[in-house]
Amino acid sequence: MPLLMVEVGVKYTIIRVCGSGNERRHLENLGFIAGEVIDIISKFNSYVLVNVRGSRVGLGRELAKKIIVC
């Protein structure tokens, strides 16, 4: 499912990152790479705050949609 639909406080694994080339590159630079485990810290109004590779990253709606986790 996309990152938008996750529950707070659960660990997820990234299955893939989609979107256009630029978006993907941007997300990969932030550390969103397939296989990575991420922590959902909080979620507010389709704004998601996650812990990825030890750093906190906030993602807006458009970007969060492009990350597919399970």
């Binding site: 499912m1 996309p2 639909m5 989609c18």
Partner: protein, 673 residues
Amino acid sequence: MKNRYTIFLLHLSIAIIAFICVTQVYALIQFHDASGAEAGGSTYSQFRFIQAVTFLLSAAAIAILFSREEINRGIKQKAYTDITGIMNKHACFEQMNILDCNESTANVGFAMFDLNNLKKVNDFYGHEEGDKLIQSFVVLLRQAADRKYFLGRFGGDEFIAIIENCTESIMEAFMERLRNSVQTFNEGCSIQLSYACGYAISTQEHYYLMDELLKEADKKMYEHKKKIKSKGLLETEQVSKILDLERRNPLEKDALTGMLNLDTFVSVVGSVLKNSVQNARYAIVCSDIYNFRYINDFCGHEEADNMLKRFSADLSNQSACLACCRIHSDNFAFLADMPQNSDEEGVDLIRQWNTEFSYMMSHNHNFDRLIVKSGIYFITDPNEPVQLMINNADCARKYTKATYQNIFVYSKDLSEAIRKRAEIIHSFQRGLEEKEFQVYVQPKVLCSDKSICGAEALIRWLRQDGNFIYPDEFIPVLEQTGDILDLDFYVYEKVFSYLHERYQAGKALIPISVNVSRIHLTKAGEFISYVQELQKRYPIPTSCIVFELTESAYIQEIDTAHLFIEQLRDLHYKVSMDDFGSGYSSLKSLQTMPFDEIKFDQTFLRESVEQKDHSLLVQLIQLVKKLNVTIVCEGVETSDNVNLLEQTECDVMQGYYYSKPFPLSKLDTCVME
């Protein structure tokens, strides 16, 4: 959908509404005590007038806004609607964008459809029919779909359906409905509608974004399409209609069977090949009914004609048979749609038809042996001339008779063999006149003192263009055509004249053995008189000539062979049995064999070397020796062979170990040495 007109309208309405606001505010400030002015003063009427104006203006503004919206919607509708009445590609992308902007695309189903063979329908029936086909598919799609489904035409013959809140079962039900309605449509329609479909549903477990859904559905659709094609369904349904016999006029048909005639068949095959999909696989098959003329003789022509009709009807009904024609009498050619995977499958398919037909025929007509023989030519290059393809298939068919097979697949080797055969047959007589044939001899050596005691005459054919044709290539062919007789006589004459020359010159004579073809057995009289004539022309001691008759020829016609040999021996010629042990001579016949010499086949030596066991050869030589004949062993190639033969009672050896065959003229020098 922003064009100048709508932008202008938008601005105008905003300006009007703004103006209304300003007037209203002005009215409020100016006439805040207007309620007090009851007595119809000018202030009051002024106020009412302004109110009326504002009301009218705002009403106008609302009307303009509404109409603008209406126009806008109309334009949008037009822009997004395809000629078929469902959404077009823009709308599809728009819809996908809208769905993509939702929270998630989970539970969105995406189905894709593609019409098969639309191009062929366009080409064969015209674009009008093709458009009709698309229209009817859209109608069927709409019938099958719920009102909530988004339907769109994605490309020329590609359609999509987007279903929100979809599950597997909803999608399956949709597909089922579509399939059913297409089936009922096809039943009542001449042009068959067939489509490939694929769908993808985005779920929690398999989550797709919209463009991924599109890709996935597309992929599945193409898989489906491939599957349909490999089954051969797609081709047959459509092309058989294209090749519809009903559409042909009687002149283009065979009068008896109602199949196409050869010319039409050629053109039809050409057009099918031209219009077929890239990786379709076709074959031309030529079939005939084995020994059909006996049926003609036995049951009469009427019955035979019925049988031909039956055969052609049966053939036309085969699903993979696209077009068929009767070449002549019982020879049929047809274009078959072959499975793509392997040639064997195709061959099996045709074999199955043939057996089914034979079975049916023997059942209905009480013929036990009605065999259909087929030659198959797999079309590899669609641009080849069709006549050539048919010829190739026919060649393969003819070859079934020679090889006692019921099915023969054409190959490059076959055409090469046929070409070579034709070359041999057609250039033989000229070759004989131009003295392209040369007589070679291979000396025979006595076992005891290794001196030359004779020679075998062999034939070599060196073409004028320098090509060398091997005896084992041309002799079987010449035996079939009967030309071998001329060749044998040619050799005899050469040998007789050579020996005669030496005899005249007073030199020592070496016995030369010459081969006798089996065909001579049937024309023994001619043979004997020819030999007698030669003897008259070139008087030589008759013991100098040995006639070699092969074992197989002797065994096959043992009685005629006996007579033949007797006649030769009456003329005091020696007779030898060639290739002893290569055929089926029985031990019983050994006793009655009227031969002066027995030549062991070279396989004996080869096998005894290979298997390191010479007991059979040794025992056999012992046995044959008791018959009081000369024993010759062919194929002596190594010193081991020589050692082995020296231990036995073998009399004469012949082989490469002593000498290769050389021209007859060099025999002199060889003997001197």
